[in-house]
Symmetry: C2
Subunit: 288 residues, 2 copies
Amino acid sequence: MRGFNMVKIIDGRKVAKQLNESTKQKVRELAKKGVTPGIAVILVGNNDASRRYVHMKEKKANELGINSIMKTFSEDVSEKVVIDTINKLNSNPKVNGILVQSPLPKHINEQKVINTISPEKDVDGFNPINIGNLFLNLDEKYPVACTPKGIMTLLEKYQVNLDGAKVVIVGRSSIVGKPMLALMLNANATITVVHSHTKNLKAYTQAADIVISSVGKYKTLEDKDFKPGAYVIDVGQNLDSNGKLVGDVNYDPKTSKIGYITPVPGGVGPMTIATLMQQTVEMCEWGL
Amino acid sequence: MRGFNMVKIIDGRKVAKQLNESTKQKVRELAKKGVTPGIAVILVGNNDASRRYVHMKEKKANELGINSIMKTFSEDVSEKVVIDTINKLNSNPKVNGILVQSPLPKHINEQKVINTISPEKDVDGFNPINIGNLFLNLDEKYPVACTPKGIMTLLEKYQVNLDGAKVVIVGRSSIVGKPMLALMLNANATITVVHSHTKNLKAYTQAADIVISSVGKYKTLEDKDFKPGAYVIDVGQNLDSNGKLVGDVNYDPKTSKIGYITPVPGGVGPMTIATLMQQTVEMCEWGL
C-alpha cells in the first residue's frame, strides 16, 4: 500500500522526453530557415563508458535532427592533433557545439584542450570564460554545464522553490558542483558546498531543504542523512557490487522520509543528454 | 585589565605595511632589469569616495616605485571614449594593470567596460575569464580580486587553518563574496554563502569558525551573532550617524567573545590597496 509519506520520484526520463520534444520542434523551426544545428564530439581511446556516452549522444542528436560529427582517436593520439581538430571545428560554420569526452589520456592536458574550444561553441560550458559569465550571473547568452543546467530544469518542472531555500551541494567538481553552486546562488538559494575536507558532512545534509550529491560513491548518503520532506538530487552514476547502476544515495522506498528524489537510472542522467541537445540548438539560435 | 578572552585584533595596517615592503623590494629587483611596473586608473565623475580611493591608490603606487597613469573623465563622458582609452592602455607596454574605479555613471555599461580590459591587465580580477580561472582553481597565473586576495593574505599571516574550516560568507557581490567563496573553496574550507534572501541568516554566522561580512551596513552583525573564538573579517566600509568610518560588525571590545576581528578602519581596507600594488607587480613579473 502506498503510504502518505512515501518518497516521490522526480522523473528525469519524463522531463527529458518533454525537453527533447521541444528541442525537436526548435530544430524543425530552424529547418524552415535552412539551418541545421550541429554538434561535434571528440573521443580519445577505448574507455567503455566514454564510448557508450558518446554513442548515446550521437544517437540522440540524430533522433532530434541535429547533425553530429564524430572525431575518434586512438589512445596514443598527440595533444597537437586533438587541438588542431578543435581549431578546424571552431571555424566550421556547421558546428555549433564541440565537446571533448572526458577523461583524456594522461599525456593530454585536458584544460588546455577545453580552452581551445571557442567559448561560443563550448557546449559543455567548461571554458573559464563561460564559468566566469555564470558566476557573475551576466545577463548574456552563454553555455552552462549540462548536468547542473538539466537539474535546474528538473527542479523548475517540479516547481521547487529555490528562493531562500537551504541548498547543500555535496562535491565540488568543475563539471557539477561548482556550476551548480553558481546556478543556485543566481536563483537566490542559500548555498553550502561540502566535500572531502568537510567535518561532520552529514550534519549539513540533514539540515538541507535540497541536497545535490555528486560524489560518485554508492551509499555516500542514506535515509537518515536527510530531513523529512527534503528534495534529493542524486548525480552519482556508480556500479554496485552486482554491476547494477546506482547513485550516491541508498534509500528505502517504503520507509524513507525523503520528500522527492531523482532515481538512478532515470533521474539526472537523461536530463544531461537532453540538456546537451537543448543547448546545441540554443547555441545555433544564438549564432543566427 | 586585559582579560584572557579579550577579542584580538587582526592588524591589517601592520600586514599591509609588510606586504608593501615586499612589493617595494620586488620593484627594486625589477628596476635592476630596467623594468618599472605600471598601473592605470580610470576615474569617471566626481564621486568623493571614488576620488579619495583613486588618490590613495596613486599615492601608494608612487611610494612603492610603481608608475601610475591617471585617466580622469567628467560624468558625461561617452562609453566609447572610456572603451577607446582602455584599448590604448591594453596596447601600452608600460601598463601592467588597468582598473576602472566603480561606480560608473548609469549611461556606461560597467561590465562591458571591464570586459574591454585585457585579461592579462585586469588587475582587479573582474574579467569573466579571470573569475572562471579562479573558480576552476587553474594552476596558472591570473589576477584575483584584491579584497578577497588580501583577506587570504591576512588569514595566512595569522596562521588561520582554513582546511575543513566552517566559513560563512555574508554577501555575494562579484567583487568580494563570489571570489572569496572561490578562494575559500580552493583552500578546502566548507563554505556557505548567505545573503538578502537567506532565512535565519544569523543561525549561520553563529555556527561559523570564520565569518566574512561584506554587506555594507553598520550593525549587520553583533557580538551575539558569532560563536566564541570565531574569526571575523569585516569588509564593510560604512559611515555611522556621526560620520565615523565603521564596518558591518558592532562589537564591544571589552565583553566580546569573538576570537579575532579585523577592525574598521585598519583591517581589510589597507590590505586591499597593498594587494592591488602586489598584484600590479606580479602581473609585471608574469609578463617578463
